[in-house]
Amino acid sequence: MSNPSVVIAGTGIHPFGRFDGTSVTDLGVAAVTDALAAAGNPSFQAAFCGTAYAGVAAGHKVLGALGLTGTPIVDIEAGCASGGAALMLAAGAIRAGQYDCALVFGIEKMPKGIIRSSFFEPWREEAGLASTPAYFALRAQRLMRESGVTKDHLAEVVVKNRRHGVHNPDAMFRKEVTAEEVLASRVVCEPLHLWMLCSPNEGAAAVVLRAATSGTPGGVTLAAAALRSHLPGSVLNEGTPLAGIADDDDIPAPTTLAARAAYEEAGLGPDDIDVVECQDTDAARELLSYEELGLVPPGDAGKWIAEGATAVGGRLPVNPSGGLLSKGEPLGASALGQVVELSTQLRGEAGPRQVDGARVALGHTVGRGANASVVLLRR
């Protein structure tokens, strides 16, 4: 008997935004309750909770509030990919026959302002070497130099994602912007302007996974959930080293490693993908993701955004939810928020932001660690 495939039995989301007076536990309860209800309130044998800032036993608090403790509850920190890591572990356990049904959720209430992370040693902070947007800016500059990406292309990413976000009731920013407005917002770290950077915020998302042994009809299948870390050597990888080696051209990025693993796991390739949700922490990160995921040939990302190929209605729509640039980024919830969006897309229930006929979807997150996750879904 072959291993069972894994289906998405239900999804739930608490909108992403700022919710003063609502605890991170409450955010999680809302998403988990919705996902379980959508799945028909099944009994689950394990729960996996992704979060970076919610603290000790964060998942236990959410399920404790619902009287649903007793099963294993595993809290997982993998930076921006925490939800992807949780999904990988749950899916692997189901495929191995350990569980028939698992609950996966991600919760976050990010601190306001520039995020202080225990990742950096105190001396590195004191020396001014702990500015996260500055690292994004250096990588953006490298992409511009090596791939012919321009500032106008970066602005176009923001315009596209904010236009998509207008139609997403769970997004934080739901107003269209123009390229002129993006380029008129203040420079945070050249070449990145304020509106090219996503806002850390709050939210939760949840997914119920089940083994598909009993012939679940018409469902969305989780075809792959891969997580990878960085290989040593490249100075601008998301592991944020203090130095690297000069001959780093042949070192694959964590995103590339995760994508290759996911394509192999699912028996799919970049040409099979109909819709993408990818990490757009900053506008350049989205374009870099196109190339690292193998979706566009190296050097073509700028051309694709300029031609509208990645807008809804284009050749390969990316971030129909509005992306993190519209939704904001609650670290632990962002990867599962993508799964919620992509499941909605594959069920054909995305309304004005629907990608017509979408059958195969890719979700991608990458961040501190480094951690990169790539999730593939199919209808």
Partner: protein
């Protein structure tokens, strides 16, 4: 004020050099010095002063004080490539990105981050355009 000069961390730099190390197994240099090579894991590493001259490989300016930083803004920030085949994250003395170009020669300087509560000058390494 007693006017002492204190490095932000011991063992990172001297007046003219970054203090890195070379691995005898994979022959790569790394920075800062570690007891094992971060690229191959070998413990056959020995201290090596890295060249104080390099070329600019990437740059930006930090316009808002990052967490834990008490010095002035804006300040230059970037990556310098050293002849040993090492790319190093560093402060840059030039805070105006338009005055910097890819591949321009730069050299190491020691510059003040801020004065601490005892009046000591806390210093770190930075790179400056060589004219």
């Amino acid at each position: 004020m007693d006017g002492k000069v204190a490095p932000v961390r011991e063992g990172l730099f001297s007046a003219d050099h970054l203090l890195g190390a070379r691995c005898a197994a994979c022959e790569r240099h790394h920075f800062p010095r570690s007891w094992r090579c971060p690229y191959c894991g070998s413990d056959a590493v020995s201290e090596a002063a890295l060249s104080g001259q390099g070329t600019l490989w990437a740059w930006t300016a930090v316009t808002a004080a990052p967490p834990g930083y008490r010095g002035p803004v804006p300040f230059g920030f970037g990556v310098v490539e050293l002849p040993e085949g090492v790319r190093v994250i560093t402060r840059l003395t030039e805070p105006d990105p338009t005055k910097l170009t890819f591949g321009m020669p730069v050299h190491l300087v020691v510059d003040e981050l801020h004065a601490d509560d005892d009046g000591n000058s806390v210093v770190s390494y930075a790179f400056s355009p060589s004219s």
